[in-house]
C-alpha cells in the first residue's frame, strides 16, 4: 500500500515534467539568390486525409528564402492549426484565401503576412475564384433537398455568404468569362454514374442557366484569353481514359479535345502548361508528359517542358505553376503522399534552377503581386 502511494507520488512528478505541446516552428532554406524580378509565392500543402496537416509555405523573392510551414508561427492561436486537406489557394485584394476541404472552411488571411483574418464556414469546399468583389466557392456538400452541390457567393469585405446556387454533383474548379461562372461537375460520389456537365451560372441573377454536356468526372477548368474554357475529364479510372476538352464560351459547345490524360493545367498568356499521366498495362508503369499547348491555335507545342532530365526524379507530379513575369516553371513532387514533397523550380527553358523540401502533398500555388 505504501509502495503504491510512493509510486503515485513519483508518477505525479513524472507527469508534471511531461513536455507541453509546442507550436511547431517554421523552417527556412536559402534556395536561391534574391531576385526581385521573380514573384514571391505561397504554396499550400494539402496534407493527408484525417491527419490535420494542411500547411502553408512561403517563398520570398527579396531574400531567396523558402519558409516551410509558416502558418503555425504566424497564427499560434488557431485551434488545431490550419486544418485537414488544403484544396485551393488564391489571393484577391489584400487577402489570402485557403480552401481547407475537410475542415469545412475557407481560411482568410492577410496577403503579405498570412495572418489570420477569419474564416468562412463552407462544408466540403473545393475551389475558389473571384469576380467584382465577390468570392465563389464550390462545395461538394449537397444543396438542401438535392443530391447536387452548390457554389456559394461570398462578399470579400464582410466575408459573409450572400447567395448560393445549386449546380451539378460534386463541383470542382470554376472559371469566369463575361459575367458567367462555369463550373466543372464531377459526380465523384456516385461512380460509375459520374456527372458529365459544366454548369453555366449567370452571375447577375446567380442562377444556373444551362448545363453543357462534356464528359464524365470533370475536374480542372481554366479560361484562356480567347474566351475558351479548358476542362479536364478524369475518366472512370477503369475503361474511360481521362481527356482534355476545349469549350467555346460564345457557343457553349465543345470545339476541341486532346487525348491527354491531364492531371493539372496552368495558363500563361498563349500557353497552357499541362502534365498528364498515362498508365500502361504493358509496362505497368505511369508515363508522364509535361506538355505545352498553344491556346491560340490549339496545338501541342512540346511534350516535355522539363528539358534537363529532372523529370526522372519526380515520382508523382502534383502542383504546377508558372511565374506570371519570369515564366519560371514550378512543379511539385508529392512523392508517396506520406512523406514531405519536393518543389522544383525550372527556368522558362525547362532547366532546373533549384529544389526544396515542402510539406506533405505540395499542391496549390499563389503568386504575391506587389
Amino acid at each position: 500500500m505504501k509502495l503504491n502511494l510512493l509510486l503515485i507520488i513519483i508518477l505525479s512528478v513524472v507527469v508534471a515534467c511531461r513536455n507541453g505541446q509546442q507550436v511547431i516552428p517554421h523552417e527556412e532554406t536559402q534556395v536561391t539568390e534574391p531576385d526581385t524580378l521573380r514573384h514571391s509565392f505561397y504554396l499550400l500543402n494539402e496534407g493527408n486525409t484525417g491527419m490535420n496537416q494542411a500547411s502553408l509555405d512561403y517563398f520570398s523573392h527579396n531574400t531567396g528564402i523558402y519558409k516551410r510551414n509558416i502558418y503555425n508561427d504566424v497564427n499560434p492561436a488557431t485551434v488545431k492549426e490550419l486544418g485537414d486537406v488544403g484544396n485551393d489557394l488564391q489571393i484577391y485584394g489584400g487577402k489570402l484565401y485557403a480552401v481547407i476541404n475537410l475542415s469545412n472552411k475557407v481560411e482568410v488571411m492577410e496577403k503579405f503576412t498570412a495572418k489570420r483574418i477569419g474564416q468562412i464556414d463552407i462544408p466540403n469546399g473545393r475551389y475558389i475564384t473571384f469576380y467584382k468583389g465577390k468570392a465563389y466557392v464550390s462545395s461538394y456538400a449537397a444543396a438542401s433537398g438535392t443530391v447536387e452541390g452548390y457554389v456559394a457567393e461570398i462578399d470579400t469585405t464582410s466575408l459573409e455568404i450572400t447567395r448560393k446556387v445549386t449546380v451539378g454533383r460534386q463541383p470542382e474548379e470554376m472559371a469566369i468569362i463575361n459575367d458567367k461562372l462555369y463550373v466543372a461537375n464531377s459526380g465523384g460520389y456516385s461512380p460509375p454514374q459520374f456527372d458529365r456537365t459544366v454548369s453555366v451560372v449567370d452571375l447577375n441573377t446567380f442562377t444556373e442557366i444551362k448545363r453543357i454536356d462534356v464528359a464524365i468526372n470533370l475536374d480542372h477548368m481554366k479560361a484562356d484569353k480567347y474566351g475558351d474554357l479548358y476542362v479536364t475529364s478524369r475518366g472512370d479510372y477503369y475503361n474511360i481514359p481521362s481527356k482534355l476538352f476545349v469549350i467555346d464560351s460564345k457557343t457553349e459547345q465543345i470545339k476541341d479535345s486532346f487525348n491527354l490524360a491531364t492531371s493539372n493545367i496552368c495558363m500563361k498568356g498563349d500557353s497552357a502548361y499541362i502534365y498528364s499521366v498515362e498508365w500502361s498495362y504493358i509496362t505497368n508503369k505511369n508515363t508522364v508528359t509535361y506538355a505545352i499547348i498553344n491556346v491560340k491555335d490549339e496545338t501541342v507545342i512540346t511534350n516535355s517542358f522539363i528539358t534537363d532530365g529532372t523529370e526522372k526524379q519526380i515520382q508523382v507530379p502534383y502542383g504546377l505553376a508558372i511565374d506570371p513575369v519570369t515564366a519560371d516553371i514550378y512543379v511539385t513532387d508529392a512523392k508517396n503522399y506520406i512523406l514531405p514533397g519536393t518543389l522544383y523550380c525550372f527556368s522558362q527553358q525547362g532547366k532546373k534552377k533549384w529544389s526544396v523540401t515542402t510539406g506533405n502533398i505540395p499542391a496549390h500555388f499563389v503568386f504575391v503581386q506587389p
Binding site: 500500500m1 509502495l3 503504491n4 509510486l7 503515485i8 508518477l11 513524472v14 507527469v15 513536455n19 507541453g20 505541446q21 509546442q22 507550436v23 511547431i24 516552428p25 493527408n48 484525417g50 491527419m51 490535420n52 500547411s55 510551414n69 503555425n72 499560434p76 492561436a77 488557431t78 485551434v79 488545431k80 492549426e81 490550419l82 486544418g83 485537414d84 481547407i100 475537410l102 475542415s103 469545412n104 472552411k105 466540403n124 449537397a142 443530391v147 459526380g187 460520389y189 456516385s190 461512380p191 460509375p192 454514374q193 479510372y237 477503369y238 481521362s242 492531371s263 499521366v277 498508365w279 505511369n286 515520382q315 508523382v316 508529392a334 503522399y337 506520406i338 512523406l339 514531405p340 510539406g359
Partner: protein, 656 residues
C-alpha cells in the same frame, strides 16, 4: 550485433542461474500466470487477475502484455486492434475457444468488442501455440491471441449457478450482464450468457500547443451493443468430449472520427451483426491416437452510413455481408513416448458481398491448409517443427479475381533446460509465415488491387524463462526475456499507383529488432497482506527499409514506440483488493518519418481499482470501483483520435 549481445546476456543469466535452488511448482495466484511448459513465448492473463484489472474489454487487458501495441481509436466504441512485434495487426490470429475469429474483409479483429465478462483466460503466443496438436489454422499466423470463454464448473452437489452483474460509470455506461450455468446430466452442461453495453461514450478531451488550449467533448460516440452466447459441453462414454457454441453480437455505434481544425463533430454511423456457431469434438483412440474435429459457420454484416456524402441515390449507405464456413481435423499420433506427430487439415470458404460499392467483384476465397508437425520431447529438450501448406483459390462473380496462391511455410521451435534446475529454460524459434491480402486490399474501390501477393513475415527469436520459488522475503521470481529480429517483406501499403491514384501495393519492407522482458515477483505475506508485482518492458526498433536513399529510410515506422512498458501491482488483505497498473508508451511518429510535424509525445496512464467481496446469504457479492487514467492525462494513441482523460467505473456482481 544485437544477436551477439543477446547471446552474451543469455550466457550471463545462465551462469547466475546455476546456484539457485530446485523449482517448486508455482501455485500462487499471480498477475500473469506462469506457463513454464510452453516452448514458445506466452503471456497469460486469467481468472482473478483478469477480474482485478481495470478492463472492460479484451483490448484493455492486452495493453499490459509486452511486445504489443494496441491501436486504439478511443472510447467505448472505438476500434481496438493489436499489433504484435510491429508486424501489423493483420498478422495476429485471434482464436475464440480454439477456433479462429477471422474477417476476410479487413483481416483484423476488433478486440474492443469482446467483453471480459465471459472471458476466463487470454493467452498471447508469439509464433504459435506451443502445442502441435491443434487445427492447421493454429500454425497460420505470425502471433496468436487465444480467448477462452468461461466453462461451466460445478461442485458435487450443484445443479445450477450463475452470475448477475452490473457496471456503470463514465460515458454514461450501462452494462448489465447475466450468466446461467446448468448441469443437464452427468455428462452434459449448458451455459448461457448475455450482456448489454450502452453508453453515450462522451468524454472530455484537450488539445493544446501552448498558445491555444481547448477542451471539448467527444461526441457521436454512442454505442448500443448486445451479446448473447450459449454453449453445451459434453462428455461421451468413451470420455471423448464435445462442445457446441453459438455467439451473437449486435451493435449500433456512432463513429466519432478524427478531431481536426473546425470539425469536432461528425455524423457517420455503423451497425454490426456478428453471428457464429462452432463445434468441437475431441476423441482419444487407444493410447497413441488423438483426434480433434472443429467446424464453424460465421456471418458478419456491417452497415455504414455517411450523411456527409450524398450520392445520386441519397445519403451514402454501404452494406457488407460475409459468410464463413470452416471445417478442421487435427490428428495426433504418439510414435514413441518422446515423439509425437500431428497432421491437421483445414478448409475454409469466405464469401463477401457489398451494396453501393462500385466495381465490387463479389469474391469467394477457398482456403485449404494442411499442417504436418512433429514434436520431440526429451527430459531437458523440446523440439518442434511444423510445415504448413496453404492453398488459396480466389474466385469472383465479376471483374478480376485475386491471384490463386500456394505456399509452404516452416516453423522450428526449441526449448532447452540447460541445467538440472528446471527453473531456467532457454528457447528459440524461427517462423516464416504470411498473411493473404484482405478483400479490402484486393477489391475496395479504385485502391484495391487484385494483383497483390501475400505479405510475408520472418521471425527469429531467442529467449529464456526463469521461474523460481524462493525462501525469505520474496516468494518467487519469474523472469522472461526474448530478443528477436523480424522482417516484413512485400508489406501491403497504399501508395501512388495507376495514374498516381492510391493503390494497395506490395512494396513495404520493415526490419524489426526487439526485446521483450518481463519480471514478476511477490512478497511473502506480511500481516496477512499478499502483494505481487509485474514489470514489463519492450524495446522495438522497427525500421522502414522500403526505399534505400529515401528520406525515411531506416526511420521508425508509424506508431511504434522505441520504448514501452507496463507495471502492475496488487495487494490483497482479507476481502479487499487494490490493484494499480501503469502503462508507458514512449514517443512515436504518426507517419513513419521522424519530423516535428509527425511527433507524438509519450503517454502514460495510471489505473487503480478497489475490490471487495462478501457473502450475503448464499450469494457471493463482488463490488469494485475503478479510476482509470488517474492523473487525467490527455493523449492520442492514433493521431487526432483523442483518448479519454480520467474516468470511473463501478461494478457489482452477484454470484450464486
Amino acid at each position: 550485433m544485437l544477436k551477439l549481445t543477446f547471446i552474451c546476456l543469455l550466457v550471463s543469466c545462465a551462469v547466475a542461474a546455476q546456484d539457485t535452488a530446485a523449482l517448486h511448482t508455482l501455485q500462487t495466484v499471480t498477475i500473469f500466470s506462469a506457463k513454464s511448459n510452453s516452448v514458445t513465448p506466452v503471456q497469460t492473463l486469467n481468472g482473478v487477475a483478469l477480474e482485478r484489472m481495470n478492463s472492460l474489454s479484451v483490448a484493455d487487458a492486452t495493453r499490459y502484455f509486452s511486445g504489443v501495441q494496441l491501436k486504439d481509436y478511443g472510447g467505448l466504441g472505438g476500434l481496438k486492434t493489436l499489433n504484435v512485434h510491429s508486424m501489423g495487426s493483420n498478422h495476429l490470429g485471434v482464436f475464440y475457444d480454439g477456433i479462429q475469429l477471422s474477417n476476410a474483409q479487413n483481416g483484423t479483429v476488433d478486440l474492443g468488442r469482446f467483453s471480459l465478462d465471459n472471458i476466463e483466460q487470454i493467452d498471447l503466443y508469439n509464433a504459435q501455440k506451443g502445442v502441435i496438436f491443434q487445427p492447421a489454422k493454429g500454425f497460420s499466423s505470425t502471433a496468436s491471441l487465444y480467448l477462452q470463454s468461461r466453462k461451466p464448473v460445478f461442485k458435487a452437489d450443484e445443479q445450477t449457478h450463475g452470475k448477475v452483474s452490473f457496471k456503470t460509470g463514465s460515458f454514461r455506461l450501462i452494462n448489465p450482464a447475466v450468466r446461467l450455468e446448468q448441469k443437464l446430466s452427468d455428462k452434459v452442461t449448458a451455459v448461457a450468457s448475455s450482456e448489454w453495453t450502452h453508453g453515450n461514450g462522451r468524454y472530455k478531451f484537450r488539445y493544446t500547443n501552448g498558445t491555444y488550449d481547448t477542451t471539448a467533448i467527444r461526441n457521436n460516440s454512442e454505442i448500443d451493443a448486445w451479446r448473447i452466447e450459449g454453449g453445451l459441453y459434453g462428455q461421451l462414454k468413451d470420455s471423448s468430449t464435445w462442445n457446441i457454441k453459438t455467439y451473437y453480437y449486435n451493435s449500433s455505434r456512432g463513429l466519432p472520427g478524427a478531431i481536426v481544425n473546425n470539425v469536432f463533430q461528425r455524423s457517420q454511423h455503423q451497425w454490426d451483426r456478428n453471428f457464429f456457431v462452432q463445434s468441437s469434438f475431441n476423441k482419444k483412440i487407444g493410447n497413441r491416437y488423438n483426434m480433434l474435429l472443429n467446424a464453424k459457420y460465421g456471418h458478419d454484416y456491417v452497415r455504414y452510413r455517411d450523411p456527409e456524402i450524398v450520392t445520386i441515390d441519397g445519403i451514402l449507405m454501404n452494406r457488407f455481408r460475409q459468410h464463413e464456413y470452416y471445417i478442421s481435423s487435427a490428428n495426433q499420433y504418439k510414435l514413441t513416448s518422446f515423439w509425437d506427430v500431428v497432421l491437421s487439415g483445414d478448409f475454409q470458404v469466405n464469401e463477401m458481398t457489398a451494396v453501393n460499392l462500385d466495381h465490387f467483384p463479389i469474391p469467394t476465397r477457398y482456403t485449404t491448409l494442411a499442417a504436418l508437425a512433429s514434436q520431440l520431447h526429451f527430459k531437458r529438450l523440446d523440439l518442434q517443427g511444423s510445415l504448413l501448406a496453404t492453398i488459396v483459390n480466389e474466385d469472383t462473380k465479376l471483374y478480376v479475381a485475386g491471384k490463386n496462391y500456394r505456399a509452404y511455410t516452416p516453423t522450428v521451435i526449441a526449448s532447452w533446460q540447460p541445467f538440472t534446475n528446471p527453473a531456467f529454460r532457454v528457447r528459440s524459434f524461427y517462423k516464416n509465415i504470411f498473411r493473404m491480402p484482405t478483400f479490402n486490399d484486393l477489391y475496395y474501390g479504385t485502391s484495391g488491387s487484385p494483383a497483390l501477393k501475400p505479405e510475408y513475415t520472418k521471425q527469429y527469436d531467442a529467449g529464456f524463462s526463469y521461474t523460481q520459488q524462493m525462501p525469505g522475503l520474496w516468494e518467487y521470481l519469474s523472469i522472461q526475456v526474448d530478443g528477436y529480429y523480424n522482417n516484413v517483406t512485400d508489406k501491403i501499403i497504399a501508395a501512388p499507383g495507376k495514374s498516381f491514384r492510391w493503390m494497395m501495393q506490395n512494396i513495404g519492407k520493415v526490419d524489426i529488432y526487439g526485446l521483450d522482458a518481463g519480471i514478476q515477483t511477490a512478497l511473502h505475506r506480511i500481516a496477512s497482506v499478499q502483494t505481487d508485482f509485474s514489470l514489463k518492458y519492450t524495446y522495438q526498433r522497427a525500421m522502414d527499409m522500403t526505399t534505400p536513399g529515401e528520406v525515411n529510410y531506416k526511420d521508425q515506422i508509424a506508431y511504434i514506440p522505441l520504448h514501452s512498458g507496463s507495471f502492475i501491482t496488487h495487494a490483497s488483505w482479507k476481502n479487499y483488493d487494490i490493484n494499480y497498473s501503469f502503462i508507458y508508451v514512449g514517443k512515436r511518429n504518426s507517419t513513419g518519418y521522424e519530423i516535428p510535424e509527425n511527433y507524438l509525445k509519450p503517454w502514460y496512464t495510471s489505473d487503480i481499482s478497489l475490490l471487495t467481496h462478501f457473502n450475503y446469504r448464499k450469494t457471493l457479492v463482488k463490488v469494485s470501483c475503478e479510476v482509470n487514467n488517474l492523473l487525467n492525462q490527455y493523449y492520442d494513441v492514433v493521431i487526432n483520435y483523442p483518448m479519454p482523460g480520467r474516468y470511473f467505473r463501478f461494478s457489482v456482481s452477484l454470484n450464486y
